[in-house]
Symmetry: C2
């Protein structure tokens, strides 16, 4: 995807280093599960597409906040991964929000290319379980 030109270059945004006190305040608000994880939803900042759901431990969140590159915890490989490091399909982070009970974060990102390892734009493209969208009401399909 080439979309918005000024967003696709290697323009790593200047991020302020997280000072220790601020990070501790954030970390204290996390309500991690028994594996130390919170859910992380990545959403394309301009189109609103929900791209994927992944997991973060505190360190992944800290790195994400500090680098502006979406960094997750792989439950299967038990390691951190920076989205796009192998595929090139990086997620440049524009904002990170914590939900009301501290167990989920919402990342507004600029996704380069496909978010899904299958090559789909999003991880939710392939498997529609239910469609109640009115066919003749508003949308024409």
């Amino acid at each position: 995807m080439t979309g918005v030109q000024q967003e696709t270059g290697d323009d790593s945004r200047p991020t302020e280093p997280l000072d220790a006190e601020r990070w501790r305040a954030v970390e204290a608000r996390l309500r991690r599960d028994e594996h130390g994880l919170v859910a992380a939803v990545a959403q394309q900042w301009d189109t609103g597409e929900v791209l994927m759901l992944a997991w973060m431990d505190a360190e992944a969140l800290r790195r994400t906040l500090e680098t502006g590159r979406a960094t997750y915890w792989s439950r299967s490989r038990q390691e951190h991964w920076v989205k796009g490091d192998t595929s090139g399909h990086v997620q440049r982070v524009r904002s990170v929000r914590l939900d009301c009970d501290g167990d989920a974060v919402l990342l507004a990102v600029d996704q380069v290319g496909a978010a899904c390892h299958t090559g789909d734009r999003t991880c939710f493209d392939a498997d529609l379980l239910l469609d109640l969208t009115p066919a003749s009401d508003g949308d024409s399909a």
Copy 2:
């Protein structure tokens, strides 16, 4: 209730009863965690707002697909809850999608009123951890 009039009535959309075979096929694709849960992201169908993240066991998903009303599993109360049953802030489901690895669903919903129990429209409104949104396109303080 408040909000968009034609959406607030009791216009439960006609949903086809889930036949057993179809449900088994869906259930077989779920990759539940050790508590039997998948993550469920609710997104407002027209604005794209990510409203909340909650959890579903297979039964919650089955009820959601069958009734068109978002139904979740409460990890704290250890029971099913139908969004809006106490608050009136129902979520009428327009579509449900399963992600590529089967551990998350994305619901496109029509949210009546606030999605968050705090009264905020979304559960992600209150706690902005990072904001790298360009303030004036390339120029920042």
